[in-house]
Amino acid sequence: MSLTNQRPAAGFFARDRGWQPEALTPQYKTSVARSPSRALLSMPQTLSEVTGPVFGHNVIGALDNDLILNFAKSGESAIGPRIIVYGRVLDESGRGVPNVMVEFWQANAGGRYRHAKEGYIAPLDPNFGGCGRAITGEDGSYEFRTVQPGPYPWPNRGNDWRPAHIHFSLFGQGFAQRLITQMYFEGDPMIWKCPIVDVVPHREGIESLIALLDMDSTVPMDARAYKFDMVLRGKRSTLFENKLEGN
């Protein structure tokens, strides 16, 4: 095969490493021994990177997107300020990304995680597990119901507290789009004191992780709503692929 007459391969936009956190961020102490010290090696994307696992909607159970109920005993529910979190998963071209497996996890309303290694004295909520998942619709949309998590202290500097946050894990269409991030809440003063938030190098980047209160989407007498969109790496269109749809 000639090297000069190839069909251009599909692929994702190059990741903007100046927009993403550096590996070594000493204010977040655990990164010091866990950050590669050599440069990442840039390589062309191959089928191994532009393909990725696909999850069917049949994986999702009826309560997977309801953290208020999915761990609760029958007739009971999790304690805390009830909220709906909704939004879209987009790519860098602004297109909704369908069929994205979105997994989310969080502390309870008191800031306590259900985990053997958790060291905070705030109590567990017997009706709150802290995990959920959804698959995005055709327009990239997702939603779930939960309780607003509390802030909590963690061992880093003498008195560091995490702002209230929800963790998100996302699968795009290719393994190279794999992403884990965190959502913060509009108006939380702890956002600007957090060494983990602070690893994001640009203020606009941090602001893109802050969900806005959306009173129009609130369910009266039930839950307030926060809107949180996430963006995965863009996909290069190629006229030379067999399939044009989905580009």
Binding site: A10, Y28, Q45, V54, G61, H115, A176, I180, V231
Partner: protein
């Protein structure tokens, strides 16, 4: 002038020490929400190809095992086909998921994948890449998931021609990408985040 109207990728944040709650809740004792953790099993009795296991530990710069890491792998089936809509060369083995996810053991940090040896997959220019597995590693203290690849010690001829491995300027780092054969169908692949044997991580 027109505008490209691009959005910026969401900034990555660490998976944190409690990644288990969201990604492998049954592993950390949160049972009854999902029937089983995603990515637990990649193969079944009908899966084609040579069964292998890949065992490893992620080490930090002090040589200490990470006990809170989560590793995901993605690979082609035994014929070199990916179970993905982006795969246009054929249909992958319907009894193989291609994707696995494991958390390190709480005490030792060790993880094990039961899978099949992948077939070869072409590089964009048509040359064949050596059989390999893509890995993605997250943990507390890792701000953005690390991408690397695993190649096989017993594929020396294919490795010597692999378009990615041969492209490495520092050829003395290639061994960090080669899984050692430790038994019949058993491979060992430890990952070093720092130090003399720091694993090669890629920006694809």
């Amino acid at each position: 002038m027109q505008s490209l109207n691009r959005l910026k990728e969401s900034p990555s944040q660490t998976a944190g020490p409690y990644v288990h709650i969201g990604c492998v809740p049954n592993f950390c004792g949160i049972e009854g929400v999902y029937p089983e953790d995603l990515g637990t099993s990649m193969v079944n009795a009908q899966t084609r190809g040579e069964r292998i296991s890949v065992t490893g530990i992620v080490y930090d710069g002090t040589g200490t095992p990470l006990k809170d890491a989560m590793v995901e792998i993605w690979q082609a089936d035994a014929d070199g086909l990916y179970p993905s809509p982006e795969e246009h060369r054929g249909t992958a083995d319907p009894n193989f998921t291609g994707w696995g996810r494991k958390a390190g053991d709480y005490t030792t940090g060790e993880w094990v994948f039961e899978t099949v040896k992948p077939g070869a997959v072409p590089f964009p220019d048509g040359r064949m890449m050596a059989p390999h597995i893509s890995l993605w590693i997250v943990a507390r203290g890792i701000n953005i998931g690390l991408q690397t690849r695993l190649y096989f010690e017993d594929e020396a001829d294919a490795n010597a021609k692999d378009p990615i491995l041969t492209r490495l300027e520092h050829q003395n780092r290639v061994p960090t990408l080669i899984a050692k054969k430790t038994g019949n169908g058993a491979y060992r692949f430890d990952i070093y985040l720092q130090g003399e044997n720091e694993t090669v991580f890629f920006d694809f």
